[in-house]
Symmetry: C2
Subunit: 126 residues, 2 copies
């Protein structure tokens, strides 16, 4: 059986994907893949997602150069979530110019930004 | 503004939650919370999820004793994914008796189970 058939795709044909940095173990992003994105990711060794906002394949880093090189691809016990380990090119996973996307931390009942901006997004996407 | 209002809940009123072990940085699970689950998690310091299969609040560890003690709660740049760091009681997060849920690894085009069962589920849930 094709490994793609074992994934439980949701009603939109997507599965959530946790991306973790291999070296630091930092969780970088939560993104989504459709069947084609997972196939391309496995074949190419680079992370390819499905952009829900743009409704098209998203070759991570195609604009920014911040590609993600695949180290491993894992599926969970319910077959409905994926975990990939990657090498993060440029050390920046977030479109805000931060190392990773989870930079709001709940403190005293409020979300506080606790991670520095490493590069101005205008420079990243120019 | 209430921190709960800043979360972008999906059409089902849910948000995906990545749970990471504080000590090992292992990603344990991907689960879901609704508004009440996140509120209870923040207030109690124990992970509370929304079970989509049972359609009710799921106080993690209520049956198994494998509770998750909250160390931090983070939100991502798009406000539509949460990352929690926890201490995993009993060292077992997965209902299959494994340390974590991502035990299928893609190797040679197939998902291979690569994590040992630490405790028989019949014992966990008896």
């Amino acid at each position: 059986m094709d490994f793609l058939d074992q994934v439980k795709w949701n009603d939109d044909g997507l599965v959530p994907v946790i991306t973790q940095e291999a070296e630091t173990k930092q969780v970088l992003t939560l993104a989504w893949m459709n069947r084609e994105a997972l196939k391309l990711t496995a074949e190419s060794g680079h992370a390819v997602y499905w952009s829900r906002s743009r409704q098209k394949l998203w070759h991570k880093g195609e604009q920014s150069g911040h590609q993600q090189i695949i180290q491993s691809i894992r599926l969970d016990c319910d077959n409905d979530a994926i975990l990939i380990e990657v090498i993060q090119k440029g050390g920046i996973a977030c479109h805000t110019g931060r190392h990773h996307c989870f930079y709001w931390r709940l403190q005293d009942g409020q979300w506080q930004a606790v991670e520095p901006i490493l590069k101005n997004p205008d420079e990243i996407y120019s």
